[in-house]
Amino acid sequence: MTLNRRRFLGTSAVAVTLGAPMLKAQATPRVVVVGGGAGGATAARQIAQDSEGAIDVTLIEPSRTYYTCFFSNLYIGGFRDMNSIAHDYATLAAEYGINVVHDWATGVDRDAKVVALAGGASVPYDRLILSPGIDFVEGSVPGWDLSAQTRMPHAYKAGTQTALLKAQVEAMPQGGTFVMVAPPNPYRCPPGPYERVSMVAHVLKATNPTAKIIIADPKPGFSKQALFEEGWQKHYSGMIERIGPDFGGENTSVNAADMSVGIDGEVIRADAVNVIPAQKAGLICAAAGLTDGDWAPVVPATMQSRMDENIHILGDATQQGDMPKSGFSANSQAKVAAMAIRGALTGSRVFPARFSNTCWSLIDTNDGVKVGATYEATEEKIAKVAGFVSDTGEAPELRAATYEESIGWYAGITADMFG
């Protein structure tokens, strides 16, 4: 099909009307980004870099040091140290001129177009980007709440939680039991829990080979299942047992006081428990009135909130269609949103949205697998149009190359996020 110029530049036409009052005030348009992860940091950097000073960019992120969730499983497995997944915002501030504010965004006054910060300040915007990641659904695992997170870590936001879980795995007695309570769909990083099990098994195989791993899983199936199960059989035979919904895996409760897990009425005493609860959009989305159910619906071609055209939402928090919740997806969506926002605020050219994602997972040393897809915007959703997945039975050389490739991707995406 052929897009005519008027239609193609529709976003820029919006900019003219929205831009008019700002021109009157002679002000540089302001973009405020909440959340400095794969979505927010990428968007802030893209806008600051490409607008060359024509847009004033503020990034609000509570942490001074950001630990990527992607590759945090490799830290658990001993393949990365914590330092290697830690990043700061110094380059974004110094080289891209982004105003980096370390504070919590607590709410959005959408009429006044102002973000409220926990520290008391308020930050006005012309366009707002929310990329807050996930929060947990209270009560989704009976017996678990945030007060239990030191005894039974979720480790699904990287940093101290990840370090805690690794320490607990390493402290397990010989022949002990590790239990993962896997999350229901949809959740951040579809292969993540299963890569994590692989990494825990890798540690235990070396130091505690008679230990057991139990996965209580509410889902009938999961991403790369055949690849993971083949790998577990090959590398960790007899160590890992997954209890799916056919055997009561969806009927799981925990007791942090005595470190027990109930699966369909049967109580298991565990030495380390990783509870990954059900998830929802980062709290600010609901606080700003931008959620429908647990997630924030967006317009596929621009990542604008369906509820407020001056707000774009990125990454895990969104309900957008077929893209998995992943750092790669958030990075991809950030580029589309950055282009749309620059088009709206400065009249720069807007090209058709294109999205992609690839998730690499490590099963054991030099045994990497991947799944990837391309996506495009339909009216209704971001829809998958093509994809690929690693095959079972691949040669060791290919698996090693896939792992090497994931290391390259990590270097690439973190440079793309943090400069």
Binding site: M1, T2, L3, R5, R7, F8, L9, G10, A13, V14, Q46, D50, P186, P190, G221, K224, V299, P300, A301, T302, Q304, E309, G321, D322, M323, P324, K325, S332, K335, M339, A340, R349, V350, F351, P352, A353, R354, S356, T358, V371, G372, A373, T374, Y375, E376, A377, T378, E379, K381, A383, K384, V385, G387, F388, G408, W409, A411, G412, A415, D416
Partner: protein
């Protein structure tokens, strides 16, 4: 036909600025497909709790190998197709629904087929609802068809449009580093244009084996490859 469908979609955008970039269309009209499925229900069930009847249930059909349900008694012909590697994807389902015996000679499915391609698309769009969701299982079957975009010259600019190249390149830079670093993923900066273009065409034609790069190249036009070559060549 696809142009008409897309034109219809573009006409009712909910937000200003939201409509310009749609470059994929749904597999078909799933609601219309639900009506078509009525004639199948005597033998096939689909949806929550669906069980095998005279025919196998159709939950999770997309991506299932032929004769892939262990508890269903398939014809020898269907078993053979499965052993030969037939997997139910959109293309093969289209062929099978158009004329079952063209694909599986002695299938037990007594059904003359649906001759009309639009009706088949609608029907398969309906059935696609009952297979895995790519948001949860990224390798699940696609849910839309890419539409080839021909950008008019005034939008694309000249061949090797650097601004367009910069936007397209943003996608490459998630993995390939702008500074030419090459740990695990090759550097693609500073290549002669011709080498870059030839390599991308080889991926697009699947002559080069890497599945990720084949996928990325598959949706690049000649002009887009030229724009990327110009962008990375100068980096």
């Amino acid at each position: 036909m696809r142009r008409l469908v897309l034109a219809a979609l573009l006409a009712w955008a909910p937000l200003p600025g939201a409509r310009a970039d749609q470059v994929a269309v749904p597999l078909g009209d799933a609601e219309a497909g639900a009506e078509i499925f009525r004639q199948c229900r005597a033998c096939h069930h689909v949806g929550e709790g669906a069980q095998n009847r005279i025919g196998p249930h159709l939950n999770g059909l997309f991506g299932r190998p032929a004769a892939g349900l262990p508890d269903f008694d398939y014809s020898d012909s269907m078993e053979r197709a499965g052993a030969d590697g037939l997997v139910w994807d959109l293309e093969h389902l289209h062929a099978y629904i158009e004329n079952p015996r063209s694909l599986v000679s002695q299938t037990r499915m007594v059904f003359p087929g649906i001759a009309d391609a639009t009706q088949r698309s609608d029907f398969l769009a309906f059935l696609r609802r009952y297979s895995d969701d790519p948001a949860n299982i990224p390798e699940a079957a696609p849910t839309a068809l890419a539409v080839e975009i021909v950008l008019p010259p005034e939008v694309l600019g000249l061949e090797g449009d650097a601004e367009y190249g910069a936007y397209l390149a943003a996608e490459c830079l998630t993995c390939h580093q702008a500074d030419g670093g090459n740990d695990g993923i090759p550097s693609i900066t500073g290549w002669p244009d011709e080498d870059f273009v030839v390599a991308m065409h080889a991926y697009r034609q699947k002559l080069r084996p890497h599945p990720l790069m084949q996928m990325m190249a598959a949706r690049l036009s000649d002009e887009e490859i030229a724009a990327l070559a110009a962008y990375f060549g100068d980096l």
